[in-house]
Amino acid sequence: MKRYIAKRVGFAAISLVLLSVTIFLLVRLTGDPTVLLVEPGASQADIEAIRVQFGLDRPLWVQYGHFVSSLVRGDLGHSFYYRTPVLDLYLSRLPHSLLLATAAMAFSLLIGIPTGIIAAVRVNRWWDSAGKVFALLGLSMPSFWIGLLMILFFSVYLGWLPSSGSGTAAHLVMPAFALGWYFAAAHMRLTRSSMLDVLGSEYVKLARLKGLPEALVIGKHAFKNALIPVLTLAGINLVIMVNVAVVVETVFAWPGIGRLLYEGISFRDFPVVQATVILNGAMVVIVSLLVDILYAVIDPRIRFAR
């Protein structure tokens, strides 16, 4: 177990280092980074000052050392627009993002798991086909378009829900639905295939043979084991949601991290863009590490493999 954890932590660390190298190099190699780091319209003297301050006149590896050491100190630069450290901005937006992602996740699981189970139990019947159509639609409709359609219908025509902003539960409904839609389809697909796997296993056959009512076989015996892969995926998807929420947050003016990233792009506020991307990447790496470890704790087969 210890060896397994050490190995996973090692991989995660390599991922983080490579992530920082990738971002560092992409900024340096695709052009003059001073253009990105200096406020638009800055004077020549300011540009020179930034060049010296960030050491952009020195060799790449010195610059990288500088870059990483400020990252480790939690210094991610200052926003041109808000005039505050980017880290503070990020942390102040994080709760909104997590709230939205949690609501969207709850919605996607509430839709995805029951429909997935029904599709698996009634495999190749009407329900299953309906589920397949639903999954295909979910995977084919861009989340921001669903958001726009909902605004058009529920805010403009019916006037039931607020079209943008945050604060009340009514504000949360549409963004959560738009964001959760795609994931509901993905969770449905996985629940179906995982349930089919479990339903074909020996212990379910035994439960049926000993005469348990079908509802109990599915609801108690099969359900629990079929759920493990779904919940693992959900754990990682929660962080993915925080990331892909950028379009949905833009549509609904939801004040989360995605909106911060969008503002960073529109205001040409490069420090905000860079910091958001780095922190989001780090979040994904760390959460997948935690999920892996948790999974190994639950399921001994994994930690003894290889």
Partner: protein
């Protein structure tokens, strides 16, 4: 057909013959829709009734022809600058098709190449490629694409490169896995024993055998890439205005949404959905037909 020709062709032949002969469950509608979209993209200049980038301020926010206030000059209405929506949708198809296909091919060539190298050579090459793949997969493709777009600036060419760089990792993973199992097969071992150079083996024995998977993956990726392109354009880091990308049209459509100008929001989204849905249906069918190993995907 011409069985004596080099092994390089076997993959392509198998693809061609399967596609033409075993057509059970073939998604005819989806394929026709893709065909129509490609046709529209090629002949956009002839088909579009108006210049998609020129507006008439006197004709702003005209509804489609069947609604009151609609005009036969603008079958699907006009947008906030008085530009013809139908013409913009038609030229938008060109952007989506061109960007979608080139990005998928770029990602495919990069990912397949690195996947083959990584799987066949093994050792440190494998380690490097796989660790880079892990790190790139850590960033969700959308975030990564937004970051790249913010760094290099928006243009149609850059979008292709960005999408390619964001999505090659998926090919690399799958192809590497296939190469690992191919490496153990007799014909590859025999080629090694016979003294073929690594280059020749990779080119003539490995590549044709992973081509099917690459094509299946590419078709499945097409939908993802088109949605990502639309999202980037929607956010303002994709194809720059006044080009008529569908995602850009949706972003513009927001301006008339509160006034109930539904056609600016509904129509471009429908186009995106129809294209993605068709690509997904075709991809699903190809996956089952061409590549049983990928059925789990």
């Amino acid at each position: 057909m011409n069985g004596g020709r080099s092994a390089t062709l076997t993959g392509a032949w198998r693809f061609a013959s399967l596609a033409s002969f075993r057509t059970e469950g073939f998604p005819l509608i989806a394929t026709s829709i893709l065909g129509v979209l490609i046709f529209v993209a090629v002949f956009a200049d002839v088909l579009a009734p108006h210049d998609p980038e020129v507006g008439r301020l006197g004709e702003r926010f005209r509804p489609p022809v069947w609604q009151q206030g609609g005009s036969e000059k603008f079958l699907l209405g006009t947008d906030h600058l008085g530009r013809d929506v139908l013409s913009r949708l038609i030229f938008g198809a060109r952007i989506s098709i061109v960007v979608g296909f080139t990005a998928v091919i770029f990602a495919g060539v990069l990912g397949t190449g690195l996947g083959i190298l990584s799987g066949f050579l093994g050792g440190w090459v494998d380690q490097v490629v796989m660790r880079v793949t892990d790190a790139w997969l850590a960033l969700p493709a959308l975030t990564f694409a937004i970051f790249l777009a913010a760094v290099v600036g928006p243009s149609a060419m850059n979008i292709v490169i960005i999408l390619g760089l964001a999505y090659w990792t998926r090919y690399a993973r799958v192809i590497r896995g296939e190469v690992l199992s191919l490496k153990e097969r007799d014909f590859v071992r025999l080629a090694i024993v016979a003294g073929c150079s690594k280059r020749t083996i990779m080119k003539r024995h490995i590549l044709p055998n992973v081509l099917n998977s690459a094509i299946v993956l590419g078709t499945l990726m097409l939908g993802v890439v088109v949605v990502t392109e639309a999202a980037l354009s929607f956010l303002g880091v994709g194809v720059p205005p006044p080009k008529p990308a569908w995602g850009l049209m949706l972003a513009d459509g927001k301006k008339g949404m509160m006034a109930g100008y539904w056609w600016l929001t509904v129509l471009p989204g429908c186009c995106i959905m129809v294209m993605v849905l068709s690509a997904n249906l075709l991809g699903d069918w190809l996956r089952v037909k061409l590549d049983p190993q990928l059925r789990q995907l």
